[in-house]
């Protein structure tokens, strides 16, 4: 029997991989992908809890998150395109105009 703990452990692993990706990768597209990974790990945890506690609320939340993620990716990609047009590079470390 596959218990909820497996799902949660997978969710945690996925989240950690995502967070690590956000922190160490320099390519914004990869960072976005990592963010997606973190969101989806959360989704996994929601779905797991919803099934374990037999409540629909978690599953509804997942739909919200997926919507937000879609919007986020749309805006993020648009930003990346604009940045690339002005700087001819999408290296995250060179986006340091706000350096104090």
């Amino acid at each position: 029997m596959i218990t909820i703990n497996y799902f949660l452990a997978l969710s945690a692993i996925l989240f950690s991989i995502g967070a690590l990706g956000v922190l160490i990768r320099r390519n914004p597209i990869v960072i976005f992908m990592s963010v997606e990974l973190m969101l989806n790990s959360a989704n996994l945890a929601f779905v797991a809890f919803a099934r374990a506690f037999s409540q629909a609320g978690g599953q509804i939340f997942v739909f919200f998150i997926m919507t937000v993620a879609a919007a986020e990716v749309a805006i993020g990609l648009a930003l990346i395109v604009i940045i690339f047009r002005t700087k001819h590079s999408i290296d995250i470390d060179q986006m340091n105009t706000l350096k104090g």
Partner: protein, 735 residues
């Protein structure tokens, strides 16, 4: 008090009008005078003085019924704490005597001045000042009336200063004339300043009076005299002596007499009214009014009598050697004032007042006659200057000058006026004889009374006064002969003309008074003594006291014991005999010897027969003992030098250059430099700048956190979340 009684006496209630009439007169002349003719101006002024005289006569009428007098309050003046002084008029026999003299002689002089000033303003070349003269004259009458009617020392002082002001204004009436164009102004200033010195004494006396007596009105002060005299005689002595200083200033006594001869710079009616008949006698009046004070301070009386006696003799000797007709009379006035002051000083208040009255008559007469003489000679000069032949003659003649002009006041330029100005000669002779003190003219009776009292009360003063009387007779003989007898010594004197009736009429009136004035207080009758005794009641008691003190004086006592009803034949004989000797001496010197001297050429002949006889003494007398020079040396020059030093060194160099510029400005600059550089720039700006740079340094260190690396920010967010979550999880576990 007597106030309720005053309400019932309509005559006494008129007394303020002695002040109001001159006030109205002067206001009319001041406001409308520009459109009035000279005659109208003179008439208004004379009428104002005349109406004041009428009111004075009414007061005298009232006093015959109520000889004890009364006080007429006009309005409240000063009420401060205990000090209560009202503007009140005192009607008693003493003040009414003064009122009658001031307004009576004053009216005659006003009338005279109409004629005199008509000429004078034309001779001096400014007819527009005619009106001003009469305004000043009425102002003088006003001030003098306040002086004599005042019921308190303070009100008296108001009048005292008022007449001083008028004196100043009228001495300097021709302020743009005289030596170097400022001679008259300097004379006026001298009179004013000298009088201020006297006023200083009077003021101190008043302060002491208020301090010792608590009030300044006569009744309160006099009522408390015995009390104060017993408690602190020193204060009483100080009061009376300081008052004497005031008297010396106003009445031209040693040492403050020097202003009066110079005061002759004023027009002649002024000399007659202010500087002979009335204002200068204010000091005598003051002492007579303060008789309770002086009676209680015998030491002060000694001093007053001595000052008067010495002044009388001193001035009489100077008068012997003067050539200016008015100057002789001026020194004569000082001398006669000395007689009065000596009299009131000895306690012979009635005799002093009596001499004051008669002197007012004959000295006003003499001055006015002298004015008539001067204008007569001026007319002669005018005549000469319009005749080429005579003008040439005058040029080659020996004449005496004042400045660069023929001097119409110099007696050496006169002579022989007897036949040319007959009326003036007669009245002048009457005045001169009255002044010499020959019976039966006014001067004899009053002077004799003073001498008699002096013999009883103060032998030293008696001899001083007798000697002065001798000189008086001598210099008057000299003057009369020099002016009127012999042949005219210059052409203008030859063509001198008699003055018009408006000038001679007052002269005749005054001459009549000079002849008859003695009748006021004849021996046996003593009407004037009885009259004044209602006011100066204590006077005789004091005299008696002094008399007993002096009765041991020896040789004199037997003389004074021969006395028939207040008349001592020996005193009268000595005085008259000396006067006759002096007259004989004068006649022989000036009638005989001077006529002989006239034969010598002008350059070689002495200007006065006394000069070769007395030699340097005459020069000394002519130069007035060099008192003015002495004052200049002892007082004025050091004073001027002191002022110069104070101005240059103390004020300018020390005070301005050093104290203000160096000390005040320097230290202020140094202080503001410290404040601006050290405190403002250093502390205040330093604080603000430090705050700013501190914030900057903090910001500089904080900005390092803003790396601009997105992943750093992400890491921060991540760590933050880990921290918060860790905290929450731990807190769940711990609880």
């Amino acid at each position: 008090m007597l106030l309720s009684e005053a309400a019932n006496s309509p005559l006494a209630n008129l007394v303020p009008w002695v002040v109001f009439f001159p006030l109205i007169g002067l206001l009319i002349n001041m406001i409308f005078g520009g459109r009035l003719s000279e005659k109208a101006i003179g008439a208004i002024a004379s009428l104002a003085a005349g109406l004041a005289f009428v009111v004075s006569v009414l007061q005298a009428v009232y006093l015959f019924g109520h000889p004890e007098g009364t006080v007429v309050p006009l309005f409240t003046w000063i009420h401060i704490g205990d000090l209560q002084i009202d503007w009140a008029f005192r009607v008693d026999t003493l003040s009414t005597t003064m009122m009658l003299v001031v307004s009576g002689v004053g009216t005659l002089i006003h009338i005279y001045a109409i004629g005199y000033m008509h000429e004078d303003v034309r001779i001096q070349g400014d007819p527009s000042r005619f009106r001003r003269f009469f305004v000043f004259m009425n102002l003088f009458i006003l001030a003098m009336m306040i002086l004599v009617t005042g019921d308190s020392y303070l009100m008296l002082f108001v009048g005292w200063e008022g007449v001083g002001l008028c004196s100043f204004l009228l001495i300097g009436f021709w302020y743009d004339k005289g030596k170097d164009g400022i001679g008259n102004a300097i004379a006026a200033k001298k009179a004013f300043v000298t009088n201020r010195i006297g006023d200083f004494g009077f003021l101190i006396a008043m302060f002491l009076l208020f301090w010792a007596f608590g009030n300044l009105d006569f009744e309160t002060v006099f009522a408390r005299v015995p009390e104060v005299a017993a408690a602190s005689p020193a204060i009483l002595l100080a009061i009376t002596l300081f008052m004497l200083l005031g008297v010396a200033g106003k009445s031209a006594q040693i040492p403050l007499y020097v202003w009066l001869p110079d005061a002759m710079a004023g027009p002649t009616p002024v000399s007659a009214l202010i500087h002979a008949a009335t204002m200068v006698t204010a000091g005598v009046y003051l002492i007579a009014r303060s008789y309770p004070l002086y009676s209680a301070a015998p030491q002060a009386q000694e001093w007053v009598a001595l000052v008067g006696g010495v002044t009388a003799l001193f001035a009489a000797t100077i008068a012997v050697a003067q050539f200016d007709i008015k100057r002789v009379l001026a020194y004569s006035t000082i001398s006669q004032l000395g007689f009065m002051v000596a009299a009131v000083g000895m306690g012979a208040f009635v005799a002093g007042m009596f001499h004051l009255v008669t002197h007012a008559f004959f000295k006003a007469l003499l001055f006015l006659s002298a004015g008539s003489v001067i204008q007569g000679v001026e007319h002669g000069l005018h005549h000469v200057e319009h005749d080429i032949r005579l003008k040439k003659k005058l040029k080659n003649e020996g004449v005496y000058f004042s400045g660069h002009h023929y001097d119409p006041q110099d007696m050496r330029n006169m002579g022989g006026l007897r036949s040319r100005m007959k009326l003036t000669f007669v009245v002048y002779l009457i005045g001169a004889i009255a002044l010499m003190g020959l019976p039966p003219l006014a001067g004899f009776w009053s002077k004799d009374e003073i001498l008699l009292e002096a013999m009883k009360l103060n032998p030293t003063v008696y001899w001083l006064l007798t000697a002065a009387a001798f000189f008086t007779a001598f210099y008057m003989t000299r003057q009369v002969i020099l002016v009127f007898f012999g042949k005219p010594r210059t052409t203008p004197a030859e063509y001198a003309q008699e003055s018009p009736p408006i000038i001679t009429a007052p002269l005749v009136a005054l001459a009549a008074l000079s002849v008859l004035g003695g009748a006021l207080n004849l021996p046996y009758l003593h009407s004037f003594t009885t009259w004044l005794e209602h006011t100066i009641g204590g006077g005789h008691a004091a005299e008696a006291a002094v008399e007993t003190a002096h009765s041991t004086a020896g040789a004199e006592s037997w003389i004074s014991s021969i006395s028939w009803g207040g008349f001592n034949p020996i005193v009268a004989l000595i005085a008259t005999g000396l006067a006759l000797v002096a007259i004989a001496l004068g006649v022989s010197l000036y009638s005989r010897r001077y006529q002989d001297l006239q034969k010598l050429p002008f350059a070689r002949r002495p200007d006065d027969p006394l000069r070769p006889i007395l030699g340097p003494v005459f020069t000394l007398l002519h130069e007035k003992y060099k008192v003015d020079e002495m004052y200049a040396m002892i007082l004025l020059d050091p004073y001027v030098r002191l002022s110069g030093w104070l101005a240059e060194v103390l004020d300018w160099r020390f005070w301005h250059d050093w104290f203000h510029d160096v000390v005040l400005a320097g230290s202020y600059n140094a202080l503001s430099r410290v404040v601006s550089i050290r405190i403002d720039l250093g502390v205040i700006d330093g604080f603000a700048n430090g705050l700013a740079s501190g914030a900057q340094a903090l910001a500089a260190s904080l900005r390092k956190m803003q790396t601009g690396l997105v992943r750093n920010y992400a890491l921060s967010v991540f760590l933050g979340i880990v921290l918060i979550l860790g905290y929450l999880v731990l807190s769940v576990f711990v609880s």
